[in-house]
Amino acid sequence: MVTKFTRRQFTGGILAGTTALAMPSLAFGARPRVAVIGGGAGGATAAKYIAKDSKGAIDVTLIEASKRYYTCFYSNLYLGGFRSYASIGHNYYGLSVNRGVNVVHEWANSVDTAAKVVNLGHGGQVKYDRLVLSPGISLKYDSLPGYSPEMHSRMPHAWTSGTQVQLLRSKVLNMKKGGTFVMVPPPNPYRCPPGPYERVSMIAHLLKERNPTAKIIILDPKPKFSKQGLFMAGWEKHYPGMIDWIDPDTHGGIKSINATSMEIETDLDTFKADAASVVPAQHAGSIAMAAGVTDGDWCPINPANMTAKADPNIYVLGDASVASSMPKSGFSANSQAKVAANHIRGELTGSRVYEARYANTCWSLVATDDGIKVGANYSAGPEKIDVVSKFVSQGDESADVRKATYQESIGWYEGITTDMFS
């Protein structure tokens, strides 16, 4: 490898000297190594941008167990019949072939942060100079009173996409005429704040077509939710009388869930479900816990570059991080990945590091051609990621605007999945 002098290394002998000491692999001519754990919106984007922008100067290894990745975003549209299951599945050939990323389909079992090594499930190791952790969420089953392993198959959480969503769709399709679907959303903070309510919209859409006397009950642990006014107005308009959202003040809290009898007991009543989706509370993906970069359930990060507060060699992206004021969304993770990738290149090759700029938009589909959205852009504040400006769909928008919003969301899916995987 030819080490190029860049503006950053050129700024002074002291800095250049420090850089060489900090990067022994560079000093000996080997390519610096970045390992990325997790091939979702954060990890795939980070791997791509580091490989693409460093033009081969950085050796990038992406560790992702699945060979085919099903996006969580748009899995609700599959539930509602607006997308095929195949259309939300993606592979890593693009990253491997176009970008030269080493894609390893393995579980990451543990991280030795002192030796800078990721230990893989089969016993292999991946060494790194910088590590990107983008493991998403793990579910806290003990957050559900009466949890049993049967819950997976009988009341699918379907919160990590894939076969759980297929299972949930089949449960809804098989409901008896006039049956009851119960949705138990997770408590804050969780992946995809509008997700449970878009899910209810999509299930209502399906039932309206096939089982119009069916009912949906939402037993929410939260007193309010994302885009609440827009969702509830949409439900009244498209599915009048079908959906009953019950807040915790009214139901008094979930006392027990019985997956065998399909009964959910609250202070208010015991609800018998013909089909249900129960989404537990969440914490950072297990590998982030194992790497020791969490504080409580999530990983605190430095807003300027997404490095973990606990380890400057580790970047934490997406749902696993505490990136407030940003929501836990695929768009957020994709945006954070670009900031981290730019910073990692600067650290390892001396390329220019620009100021952090973050953005997010969450589109949701309420019914056919009725799309809504909420979004913001952000900058790095001293303590957290601060909102610069924001917007949300208005309640009095025309049908044309809502249709355009939905069509825009289809364009966004094309855009972000191209950005992640090609």
Binding site: R357, K373, F391, G415
Partner: protein
């Protein structure tokens, strides 16, 4: 100083500044534009595919800059694009314009 050279020099400067009557592309830095483009390509397909969001690859740089300024002033109306444009300064818009203009378009 050679008079003829001086005339030529100032004539060139005049022509350049005239060509950029609106100064839309002043201060453009394509490398910075590439970094900033990360925010754009989450939605605008990098492969130049329009499935509901317009392709911006290969867009004429002045057209690009004019559109962004129109979102900034509110002459064009779209909540996401107005938010995006509002935090871009003129140099950032120029940098993005020059970067995207250099990408192969769809046609």
């Amino acid at each position: 100083m050679k008079p003829l050279w001086t005339v030529f020099f100032f004539a060139t400067i005049f022509c350049l500044s005239n060509a950029r009557a609106d100064n839309l592309l002043d201060g453009a830095d394509s490398g910075y534009g590439e970094y900033l483009s990360g925010e754009c390509v989450t939605c605008h397909s990098k492969d130049g595919v329009d499935k509901g969001i317009p392709v911006i690859n290969g867009l004429d740089a002045e057209v690009f800059a004019s559109i962004m300024h129109a979102y900034k002033t509110g002459d064009m109306d779209h909540p996401v694009m107005m938010m995006v444009a509002n935090r871009l300064d003129e140099e950032q818009i120029a940098s993005l314009a020059v970067y995207f203009a250099a990408l192969p378009g769809t046609n």
